[in-house]
C-alpha cells in the first residue's frame, strides 16, 4: 500500500531536518578554522528562517492540510499529521523561539568547549520534534515526536565538556525524562487498549459514542490511563509533583539550553497535553479537569514559593517558569464549562510567556558573558552601565509579574482569569490571584536591583547575536503589549 504524502504540509519539519543533516555534514567537511562555528550558526539560522518563510506562506494560504491519513479502504478520515490553526500557532512559537535560541547559541559555543556541529544539529533536531509534535494527531506520533524533542536536549545539556554541573544536570534530566516517557507510554498503551485506536479523533469518537466500556473494566482503566498520561506530560512541563528537576537542570545546562527547555520543550509538552486532553479525551473532562485544577494550583504555588528564596538568576527563572506552567495549566481545568476559551487561554498564555521569558534569558545570557556566577547581586546597577539591557530585563520581569507597563503579561493573566471565572472555578482564581502577588515579590526585587546604584564600575557586556536575540524578543513582547489581539485572534 502506497501512501501519498502532501509534501507542502510537512515542509516545515522537513526543512528543519534537512538543515540539521546539512549542518552535520558541513561540520565534517569544512576545514577547521576560527569562525567556522559562526558559519554553522548562520546555516542553522537560515534553515529556521526558511522554515518560517514556508510557515508564513502556509498561514497566508489558510485552510487545513492533512497527510499520513488512513486510506479510504480502511475506513478513512483519521490523519496523523494535520496542519490547522493550532499547529500553525505552535509552529510559529517554536520557530520564533528557535531563532532566539540559535542566536543565543552563536555566543555560547564561541567559548570553545562545545563541539559546534553537534550543537546545532541537536538544536535543529529538537525544533523538528517540537514542530512535528504540534501537528501530530495520533498517540504514536505524539510520543515519538516528544522523544525527538527530549533526547537531543540531554545531549545538549551535557555537551559542555569537563563541566561536572552540566553532566549532573544531563543525567538528572535523562532519568526524569525516561521515567516520564515510560509512564506516559503505559498510559498511552492503556488508552489504545481500551479504545482500539491511536488516532485522537477516533479515541474521541469512541468516548463520545457512549461506549463506556465494551470491556467491563473500561471506566477504571480509562481513569488510570488519563492519570498516567497526565503524569507523563507533567514531567515535561515541570508541573508539581514532577517539578523538582527544574532548577538543577536549568542551572547546570548552558543558558541557551535552559531557554530552550523553558520555552520550546515546555511548549511541546503543553501542545501534547492540550491535544490529548482537548481532542482525544474531551468527553472525559469530568475525570481530568479536577486533577488539572489541583495540579495547576499546586504548581503555581510551589514555583512561586521556591522562586522567592533563590539567589541565582537562572534558578529563579527556573522556578518562575514552573509557576508560569501553573498559570498555563489553570484554564484547562475550566475546559468542561468553556471548552473553546479554555484551550485558547492556555495557548495564548503560553505564547505570551514564551516571548517575555526569552527576553529574560537573553539578558541573563548577555550578563553571564561578563560575570560567570550569575548571582542576582551581579545585576545590581545594571541600569547604569548597560541601560538598554537593564530596561529590557526590567520590562520582561514586569511582564512576567503581569503589571503595566508589561501589558503583555497583564493581558495574558486577564485571559486566564477570564477562562477560570467563566468556568466557575472561583477557588482557583483566588489561588492564582494570591500567587500573582507572591510572584511580584521576587520579580520586583530583581527589577529593583537593576536600578540600585553600584559603586564599583563594571564592564559592559557585549555580544552581537545576543543583542539581536534580545532585540527580537523585546520587539515581539512590545507588539504583544500594544496589540495582544494578534495572539488572541490567532488562538481564538
Amino acid at each position: 500500500m502506497i501512501q501519498s504524502i502532501d509534501y507542502t504540509a510537512i515542509a516545515v519539519p522537513l526543512i528543519l531536518a534537512l538543515t540539521a543533516g546539512l549542518v552535520l555534514v558541513l561540520d565534517v567537511f569544512l576545514p577547521a578554522r576560527p569562525g567556522g562555528g559562526r558559519l554553522l550558526g548562520v546555516v542553522a539560522l537560515g534553515g529556521v528562517a526558511a522554515a518560517i518563510a514556508v510557515l508564513v506562506a502556509q498561514a497566508v494560504q489558510g485552510g487545513e492540510r492533512r497527510t499520513f491519513c488512513v486510506p479510504p479502504s480502511l475506513g478513512g478520515g483519521s490523519c496523523s499529521f494535520v496542519l490547522d490553526r493550532f499547529t500553525l500557532v505552535f509552529t510559529a512559537l517554536v520557530l520564533a523561539a528557535g531563532v532566539v535560541v540559535v542566536l543565543l547559541s552563536m555566543a555560547e559555543p564561541a567559548s570553545g568547549r562545545i563541539p559546534v556541529g553537534e550543537w546545532y544539529f541537536l538544536l535543529l533536531a529538537t525544533l523538528t520534534g517540537a514542530v512535528l509534535l504540534a501537528a501530530s494527531r495520533d498517540l504514536v506520533m505524539l510520543v515519538v515526536s516528544l522523544e525527538l524533542v527530549s533526547l537531543p536536549v540531554f545531549a545538549l545539556t551535557a555537551l559542555r565538556r569537563y563541566d561536572g554541573r552540566a553532566s549532573e544536570a544531563a543525567l538528572k534530566l535523562f532519568l526524569v525524562s525516561v521515567v516520564s516517557t515510560a509512564i506516559m507510554l503505559f498510559g498511552v498503551s492503556l488508552l489504545y487498549g481500551v479504545t482500539g485506536s491511536v488516532y485522537l479523533d477516533r479515541i474521541a469518537a469512541f468516548y463520545a459514542s457512549g461506549q463506556g466500556g465494551p470491556i467491563g473494566v473500561a471506566p477504571g482503566v480509562t481513569t488510570v490511563a488519563i492519570l498516567l498520561v497526565l503524569a507523563g506530560f507533567g514531567f515535561k512541563v515541570a508541573a508539581v509533583p514532577f517539578h523538582f528537576w527544574a532548577a538543577d537542570v536549568y542551572q547546570g545546562a548552558p543558558i541557551p539550553v535552559a531557554a530552550l527547555l523553558s520555552v520550546i520543550s515546555k511548549a511541546a509538552g503543553f501542545a501534547g497535553l492540550v491535544l490529548v486532553l482537548t481532542i482525544a479525551l474531551a468527553n472525559q473532562a469530568a475525570v481530568w479537569a479536577p486533577v488539572v485544577a489541583v495540579i495547576a494550583a499546586l504548581t503555581m504555588t510551589a514555583g512561586n514559593v521556591l522562586a522567592m528564596r533563590q539567589r541565582q538568576a537562572v534558578r529563579l527563572l527556573a522556578w518562575s517558569s514552573v509557576a508560569q506552567s501553573g498559570y498555563i495549566l489553570a484554564p484547562l481545568a475550566a475546559f468542561a464549562a468553556v471548552p473553546r476559551d479554555a484551550a485558547g487561554a492556555s495557548v495564548a498564555y503560553l505564547v505570551f510567556y514564551a516571548a517575555m521569558n526569552l527576553v529574560a534569558f537573553g539578558v541573563v545570557m548577555l550578563v553571564s558573558r561578563v560575570r560567570e556566577r550569575g548571582d542576582l547581586d551581579d545585576y545590581q546597577g545594571l541600569a547604569f552601565h548597560s541601560p538598554v539591557a537593564a530596561l529590557s530585563l526590567a520590562f520582561s520581569l514586569v511582564c512576567l509579574a503581569g503589571l503595566p507597563p508589561g501589558l503583555a503579561g497583564l493581558f495574558a493573566k486577564v485571559v486566564v482569569f477570564r477562562a477560570i471565572v467563566d468556568g466557575g472555578l472561583g477557588w482557583l482564581a483566588v489561588v492564582m490571584a494570591a500567587n500573582t502577588v507572591v510572584g511580584l515579590y521576587y520579580y520586583i526585587a530583581w527589577t529593583a536591583r537593576l536600578f540600585t546604584p553600584l559603586s564599583t564600575g563594571a564592564s559592559r557586556p557585549r555580544s552581537g547575536p545576543v543583542a539581536v536575540a534580545v532585540g527580537l524578543a523585546v520587539a515581539v513582547t512590545l507588539v504583544f503589549s500594544v496589540a495582544p489581539q494578534v495572539v488572541l485572534s490567532a488562538v481564538g
Partner: protein, 542 residues
C-alpha cells in the same frame, strides 16, 4: 472635541518618552517636567471650560475605540461631573509637585529619572479617572503601581525599601481581587462598558452574584482608599515617600479607590451595595475613630498626617455607605477637599522636614510661629482646614457625610446609621483634638535656637534616658529639655522661611480650600446630577 481627553494622556506620556532622549540632564529635566505638566494642566482646564455644566450627569467628550476585541476591551474615555474635578485636581497636584521639585532637587539625585517616573504616574492617574471600560480602568489602576514603587524605593527615607515592597504587594493583592470582581461582572453582564452597565443598574446580575462581586471589587478598592483594616501599607508608604510621592499618594492615589466606589461598585452593583453598605459604613466609622486615635499617638509629623488620611477617607466611605445623593455627594466633595488639604499638609511637612532635618514632633520643638511665621501660619491653616472648620473645604465633606448617615437610603437600617453618625461625630472631635495638640506642640511654645542632629528619639523611654529620671515628659518641656541636653551640638543657622517657589506650589491649594469652603455649591452642582445618574434616581441620566 474628543481629542482633548486623548491629549490629556498623550502629553505626559510623550513627555516621558522624550525624556529618554540623551539631551536631558541635570536641571533641564526639572523644567521640562514643569512645562509638560503645565501643558497637561492647561488641557485639563480646557476640558473644564468646554464641559457642558448644564448636563453634568452625562458622559462628555467621549472617545470610544476598539482596542482588544478578544477581551472586549475598548479604549473608552469620557468625563462627567464625578471625574472632572478629580482630573483637574490630578493635573494641578502633578504640576505643583513639579514646581516643588524644581525648587528642591530630590535627595536621591537623578532628577531626570524622577521626572520620568512622575509623568508616567500622571498618565496612570488621569487615565484611571477617564476610563469608561472596566478593564481599561484596571489597566490604568495598575499603571501607577510600578512608578510609585520606584518613587518610594529610590527617593524615599531610611526604611524606603521595606515600605515600597509593602506598598506594591499590598496594593497588588487588592488589584488582583479587584480584577476577579470585574471579571465576575463581565461574566454575568457580558459587557465591560461602564456607561452601559451604569444604565442597567444591576439588572441582569443576580443578587447573590452582585454581593460576591461587590465584595471583591470593594476589597480591591478599599485597599487603595484605604479602609480600616486594610490600611496598614499607608503609614509606612506615606512616611518613607519623598514629599512629591506623599502628596500624590494622599492627593490622588487614594482617590482612585474611592472613585472606583462611585464609578463601579455602587452604580453597577446596586443590590450588592445595598447588602454590604452597613458593613462598609461600620468599617468606615471604625477607620475614623482608629485613624484619630492613632494620630494622637504619633510622634512623626508625616506619619500623623498619613493616619489622618485613614480617618478622612473613613468619612468618604461613610458617605458612600449611605447610598443617598447627599452622602455620595459628600463623599465626592470630601475626596477633593482631602486631596487639596492633605496635599498641602504633606508639602508643608516636607518643607518642615527639609528645614529642621526631622519630622519628629519632639525634635521639632515649639515656637514655629515665631521662628518661621509663614510656614507656621500655613501649617495652622492646613490643620484647621483638615479638622473641618466651617468655611473651609474640609468641613462640607464631613458634615454632609454625617448628614447623609442621618437619613440613609431606604432599605438601610436607620438606627444603625444613626449610631454611625454619632460615632463619626465623636471622630470629628478627636480629629480636632489631635490637630490642635500637634499645633500646640509645634507652632506655639518657646522656640528652640538649635536643631539637634542625630536619629529621632523613638519613644518616651529614650527621651527619659536623655533627660534623666524625674523630668516630666511633657511635649513642650521635652523639646526644650532635649535642646538643653544636646546643647553641645553646633547651633544651626537661621532657618529660611517660605521661599517664592514654595509659595507658588502652595498658594493654589490654599486658595481652592477657601474657595470650596465658602462656595461648596461650585463643586456640589457639578457632582449632583452625576450622582443622581449613578444612583439611578432619574434626572441627569438623559
Amino acid at each position: 472635541m474628543n481629542w482633548l481627553l486623548l491629549a490629556l494622556l498623550a502629553v505626559p506620556l510623550a513627555g516621558a518618552a522624550a525624556l529618554t532622549a540623551p539631551a536631558f540632564a541635570g536641571r533641564a529635566a526639572g523644567r521640562f517636567g514643569i512645562a509638560v505638566s503645565a501643558l497637561t494642566f492647561l488641557l485639563a482646564v480646557v476640558v473644564a471650560v468646554v464641559f457642558d455644566y448644564g448636563d453634568a450627569g452625562r458622559m462628555q467628550l467621549e472617545t470610544d475605540w476598539s482596542w482588544i476585541p478578544g477581551l472586549d476591551l475598548r479604549f473608552h474615555l469620557g468625563v462627567d461631573g464625578i471625574s472632572l474635578p478629580l482630573v483637574v485636581l490630578t493635573a494641578l497636584l502633578s504640576l505643583l509637585c513639579f514646581v516643588h521639585l524644581a525648587g528642591r532637587p530630590p535627595d536621591g539625585g537623578r532628577v531626570r529619572a524622577l521626572v520620568f517616573t512622575l509623568l508616567v504616574l500622571e498618565v496612570g492617574m488621569i487615565g484611571t479617572f477617564l476610563a469608561l471600560d472596566l478593564l481599561l480602568f484596571f489597566v490604568f489602576f495598575e499603571v501607577v503601581l510600578v512608578p510609585m514603587y520606584f518613587v518610594i524605593a529610590i527617593w524615599g527615607g531610611r526604611d524606603r525599601r521595606a515600605a515600597a515592597v509593602k506598598f506594591i504587594l499590598y496594593t497588588l493583592l487588592g488589584s488582583a481581587v479587584l480584577l476577579l470582581g470585574l471579571l465576575v461582572i463581565w461574566a454575568q453582564a457580558g459587557t465591560l462598558d461602564m456607561v452601559e452597565l451604569t444604565a442597567r443598574h444591576g439588572s441582569g446580575i443576580a443578587r447573590s452574584v452582585q454581593i460576591v462581586a461587590f465584595l471583591a471589587v470593594g476589597i480591591g478598592l478599599a485597599v487603595k482608599t484605604p479602609m480600616w483594616p486594610l490600611h496598614t501599607w499607608l503609614p509606612d508608604a506615606h512616611t518613607e515617600a519623598p514629599t512629591v510621592g506623599s502628596v500624590l499618594l494622599a492627593g490622588v492615589l487614594l482617590k482612585m479607590g474611592s472613585y472606583g466606589f462611585a464609578r463601579i461598585a455602587i452604580p453597577i452593583l446596586p443590590e450588592g451595595a445595598a447588602a454590604l453598605a452597613p458593613w462598609l459604613g461600620a468599617l468606615a466609622v471604625v477607620g475614623i475613630i482608629y485613624g484619630s486615635l492613632a494620630c494622637l499617638a504619633q510622634r512623626d509629623l508625616k506619619r500623623m498626617i498619613a493616619y489622618s488620611s485613614v480617618g478622612h477617607m473613613g468619612f468618604v466611605l461613610l458617605g458612600f455607605a449611605t447610598l443617598t445623593p447627599v452622602g455620595v455627594n459628600a463623599a465626592l466633595f470630601g475626596n477633593i477637599a482631602h486631596g487639596l488639604i492633605t496635599g498641602l499638609l504633606f508639602f508643608l511637612a516636607g518643607g518642615i522636614k527639609e528645614r529642621y532635618g526631622t519630622a519628629d514632633l519632639v525634635r521639632l520643638g515649639g515656637g514655629m510661629l515665631r521662628r518661621l511665621p509663614y510656614i507656621g501660619s500655613l501649617l495652622t491653616f492646613a490643620c484647621v482646614a483638615s479638622l473641618g472648620l466651617p468655611g473651609l473645604a474640609g468641613f462640607w465633606g464631613e458634615m454632609l457625610a454625617l448628614f447623609g448617615a442621618f437619613r440613609p437610603a431606604a432599605g438601610l437600617s436607620r438606627p444603625l446609621f444613626l449610631v454611625f453618625m454619632t460615632v463619626g461625630g465623636v471622630g470629628t472631635v478627636l480629629t480636632a483634638a489631635y490637630f490642635l495638640v500637634m499645633l500646640s506642640r509645634v507652632t506655639h511654645g518657646r522656640s528652640r535656637e538649635t536643631v539637634p542632629v542625630g536619629p529621632p528619639l523613638a519613644s518616651a523611654e529614650e527621651v527619659r534616658v536623655v533627660l534623666g529620671p524625674g523630668e516630666p515628659v511633657e511635649p513642650v518641656a521635652t523639646g526644650t529639655a532635649v535642646a538643653e541636653v544636646e546643647g553641645s551640638h553646633p547651633p544651626a543657622g537661621r532657618l529660611a522661611d517660605v521661599t517664592s517657589r514654595e509659595l507658588v506650589a502652595w498658594v493654589p491649594l490654599v486658595a481652592l480650600t477657601i474657595l470650596f469652603g465658602v462656595w461648596p455649591k461650585a463643586l456640589l452642582d457639578l457632582t449632583g446630577p452625576a450622582v443622581q445618574a449613578i444612583l439611578g434616581l432619574g434626572g441627569g441620566a438623559g
